[in-house]
Symmetry: C2
Subunit: 657 residues, 2 copies
């Protein structure tokens, strides 16, 4: 067997052996797409296993995340920190080789993947980040950032809407360094691809501003290599459609049966026999081959780059420092001073949100983002003009009406070290849920700004009025969701978000003006998710709790209740999920256990309040859809009035006794 | 002014007057797209205002739902039950003219719209329904169903991923009676369309199997009409790209400023002056014109059809009865007998789900649907082969990996009177959230089947393991979500879903086998969302509550607790949201108030349990992401063991005292 051939076959056999040992996994793609990943790692990509966080490495996203075993095999062979024992531990508890690639778990894995559609979108975000950093920092002869982004995808990926959003935008933005290898095997889980799609692939993607190259034989390494070289020279993003055979070399070749279950044991045995050696054995010559083809080739590139970096740092120390600040996300921002907020003002919190982002954008050179065609409403726009073919340093992204990919691209931007912020109407967070989940799963500091936060949206009606969305976001692990009461709290919510460097933050803002009710709020208490905004006068009779625009109502109700002889406390809970994560002791300090008459007020479904209102408590919420009417009228018709709150509190007092 | 011209201008002026009076709305599209809707209603569409539920009417979806004022104007002028007083009440509380079209609120409105992307997808569902009914029922000379589906969309719609999913599928399925009028005005909210999209529209959609026709002057009614006539004759779905000017005729013509706020008062005044009459006045001749062009033309078609119907009924009484059963959703299904479930069996609930759908499909001729490329895993497949160009009576839809449009198409199918069922992995319900919300908002009886319901999914890892999705679904108003414990409960969940004819139902099923623990469950108690599965022996010491695969654990824990001297009750709560909607009295009968030691057990985030566990209660849930490992191991490592439940219960008892 030729070295190349043996290397490729080892890659395949190691992959199916992982699946076989785990009794779980996806052998079909591991066999069919092996030449694709093999070509990328051994001939094309500049990566250096000695430093898998190298900022100028080529990026690789295994969009078809079910091909994880194949990825782990090549990472192992290439000398990334994955051992044979890890491959043997494929899909086991605590292993670094989980069922789908998980960013952070495994050296050399640039992104989590698995949910189809996310991969190309993440790659699009990475490619935008590369263009921005290259455009902003590179100097004549000193290409500090100068790499490509590769994505390996399958048929399923291309069917997902979010992929189509990504490709539409990538074509428009001429992201010529984004190269997609399309593992085109004509088979998907439910049968032949032609049962569900009949597109002219080349025609479609060319019409969308992409370059399309067909490689008709997926076993032909040199054709694949030639295609990638051609793609690199193109002035457009490229999709290389490579015809492969799923499960090739096994008895299930060409069948969807090879997709999601281990191959027959006999197949694995035969393939290993043809290669020689024991299960999970890799010959010295194959290791040597990969060492030369990936590790040493990469090390050379890495050293070239280190020299560039050193020269750059010497010649352009300030710019280099800025570059480092971006990558490390280190900027000093004084959130006390960043924008003026006055107790006399009554603005929509979205106005403060927009002002904060404008101000931070001037300081934080890694800030990038925009809105899904609603920037005039959300007020969220990136600085320095719009990113495009002619302006690579513009940090506003015109996402178009493409909410889902806005989130997914933000993930890609964050994976590349930038600080993404994105905005749309709160009700359309529904469209972004899969991407929000990916931010949380990957611990990426994406800032989601959602405006038009309740039925107070008014006339646009129920399709535009969020009801259940706060509950949705609060239930996502590792995501922090704020609904600030006013300008002061809004500033602090953004402070929290910018200081929260290893997890996403959602900030939910009003369309309508609200009074500034929390002039004295300190970050130390705000940052715990909830705090006492107004203490009882003497002896606590109960508690009113609220978030966002309902906090002012709680304060008014407190005054009215006092006049009626009830001495209540008002707790502002801008982040119910963050508050729920505090120690019980702190929670009790805000909501004393003896104060059992409790009313929570929120214009949303509000499931999470039940944890804190207790059996005598009353939740004033909205658990049906909204309606089309002027906002103020609607708010009242849904029971958000001082009177109603006062009555509810008195009911709660009576329930208690 | 010519009659035609005056009619068209009246349409425009009435529309901007609505927006002007409401001080809220979207005048830009109302002016720009008026000729499009005018052409459809007066020259093309067969609708009859005298019976707006006419089953064979042409369907119209205003995908660009912000053009609602324009739609209401033409419905008024055409004689649908919308009065001038209704137009004056545009966007007011309780009006039948809400900010975006809401199905059910307004005569002549075929679908709710507003969230971009849903419209073309819904139209795709309607077109599939039409093809199916036509294919199944029409006889030589007796075309019982024989109509077209029209969608009016804007630039934003085409940018949404779900639209791209719909168009990809519609092209593949050759839905030649789906005709999209694309209001192409080169402007969107954040600026020129070219800032965010640079596609070759004709090339793209032709490559996707569509016919593309360009009308370069959107004011040219006869060109628009010709294009639609051509589209009707095509063997493919057609997108007619019509170049219009947003806000045409106003001082903001061509500007995005005309999009979302009322026009300057002066503009409205001038436009009315040019037309003549007072605000909201319609001249007799214009009413007459519309009466002839829409009402009388429609009545003729309607009468023709009534004759066909009568003849059909006479000649094919059985088939006609079946047709009526479909439209009325009236089928007798004995859910007791529908599939065998035995107490000795231990199967995954998805197996029962698949078997029920297979069985119902044989009885219910309106059942249609399928899975998003996961039918072998979800077991959800429609009957009679796959719907396609060559098989219009196949009721399995190969949706491909297009979850979002699967939901949106289901909405279109339901709007046309069919009974859609669709399936995917539970974690991918995230991708479908906007469509699920639309089902609930429109009160459509879509059945969502989600399998692989928890971390028990195992090796595929966190990207494939739902955690927060139950909370997400439970928070959606008007949606009922079941997570049945076993085969018996699964049958009843489907019974509930099929009897629930005016709202969607989600049924969440396991991948792994579970024992059949509820042989005696009665629909009368199951249908209340929760019930006592196992009573205490003598005196109640507390309650274990659970849903789905955790119910068996609760039963085991009950036995163990009894051995340790605690006499507990087990409540199975297959639908926490349905249970929460019951009278307090029923809730107390299941969960007696004196039994305050409560443990709820669910492999999910579980926010909604807090309402029922009370202050001494303990929630055994999962509030972090899953992991990749064999399912059984994972379940134990997340604390779902009999021991852990027993310990928690004893803690709850101690907390109480």
């Amino acid at each position: 067997m030729k070295d190349t051939m043996k290397a490729l076959e080892t890659l395949r056999v190691l992959s199916v052996e992982q699946v076989h040992k785990a009794k779980s996994g996806h052998p079909g793609i591991a066999l069919g797409a092996a030449p694709l990943i093999y070509t990328l790692y051994t001939k094309i990509m500049n990566v250096f296993p000695g430093d898998d966080r190298w900022v100028n490495r080529d990026r690789f996203v295994m969009a078809a995340g079910h091909g994880s075993a194949l990825l782990y095999s090549i990472l192992h062979l290439s000398g990334f920190g994955i051992m044979i024992s890890d491959l043997k531990n494929f899909r086991q508890l605590g292993s670094i080789t989980p069922g789908h690639p998980e960013r952070g778990d495994t050296p050399g894995v640039d992104s989590t993947s698995g949910p189809l559609g996310q991969g190309i979108a993440i790659g699009t975000g990475m490619a935008i980040a590369e263009e921005y950093l290259r455009g902003r920092f590179n100097k004549e002869g000193l290409p500090l950032i100068d790499h490509y982004t590769y994505v390996l995808c399958g048929d399923g990926d291309l069917q997902e809407g979010v992929t189509q959003e990504a490709m539409s935008l990538a074509g428009h933005l001429r992201l010529s360094r984004l190269i997609v290898l399309y593992d085109s095997n004509d088979i998907q889980l439910d049968g032949p691809v032609k049962d569900t799609t009949g597109e002219d692939v080349a025609g479609k993607y060319r019409a969308m501003g992409w370059n399309h190259i067909l490689v008709s034989d997926g076993e032909n390494i040199s054709e694949i290599e030639k295609a990638v070289i051609k793609a690199k020279a193109s002035d457009r993003p490229t999709i290389i459609e490579i015809k492969t055979v799923i499960g090739v070399g096994s008895s299930l070749a060409g069948s969807h049966k090879s997709h999601g279950s281990p191959l027959p044991a006999e197949d694995v045995k035969k393939m290993r026999a043809a290669l020689g050696g024991e299960h999970f054995e890799v010959s010295r010559e194959v290791y040597d081959y990969f060492r030369r083809a990936v590790y040493e080739r990469g090390r050379e590139k890495y050293r070239d780059w280190e020299k560039i970096k050193t020269d750059y740092q010497k010649e352009f120390p300030e710019e280099f420092a800025l570059f480092e600040s971006i990558i490390k996300d280190e900027f000093t921002i004084d959130f006390e001073e960043i924008i003026p907020v006055s107790a006399d003002d009554a603005k929509a919190t979205r106005e403060y949100g927009g002002a904060v982002i404008d101000a931070v954008g001037k300081i934080h050179a890694g800030l990038i983002g925009g809105s899904a065609d609603l920037s005039s409403s959300t007020k969220i726009k990136g600085p320095d003009g719009s990113f495009g073919e002619g302006n690579r340093t513009g940090r506003n992204i015109n996402f178009g009406v493409r909410e889902h990919v806005m989130g997914a691209i933000s993930n890609g931007l964050a994976l590349h070290g930038l600080r993404p912020v994105c905005g749309t109407f709160f009700v359309f967070s529904d469209y972004m849920k899969p991407a929000i989940r990916m931010s949380a799963l990957m611990s990426l500091p994406v800032i989601y700004v959602f405006t038009h936060d309740s039925v107070a949206v008014g006339e646009d009606g129920p399709t535009h009025q969020p009801v259940e969305q706060l509950t949705m976001l609060r239930s996502v692990p590792n995501l922090t969701t704020f609904r600030p009461a006013d300008g002061y709290e809004t500033k602090l919510a953004f402070r929290y978000a910018f200081e929260n460097k290893n997890a996403p933050t959602a900030i939910v803002l009003t369309r309508q003006a609200v009074p500034n009710v929390a002039p004295g709020v300190a970050f130390s208490s705000f940052g715990k998710g909830g705090y006492v905004l107004a203490y009882e006068e003497k002896t606590i009779d109960g508690i009113l709790m609220a978030s966002g625009s309902e906090v002012q109502l709680a304060l008014q109700a407190k005054r009215e209740l006092l006049a009626r002889g009830f001495d209540v406390r008002v707790a502002s809970i801008p982040s119910l999920d963050l508050f729920a994560r505090q120690e019980r002791e702190y929670q009790n300090s805000v909501l004393p256990e003896n104060a059992t008459a409790r009313v929570a007020i929120e214009m949303g479904e509000g499931a999470h309040w039940h944890k804190f209102i207790g059996p005598s408590g009353i939740l004033i919420n909205i658990d049906r859809f909204g309606a089309s009417a002027p906002g103020k009228q609607l708010i009242e018709s849904y029971g958000f009035t001082v009177n109603h709150i006062v009555e509810a509190f008195i009911r709660a007092v009576n329930k208690k006794s």
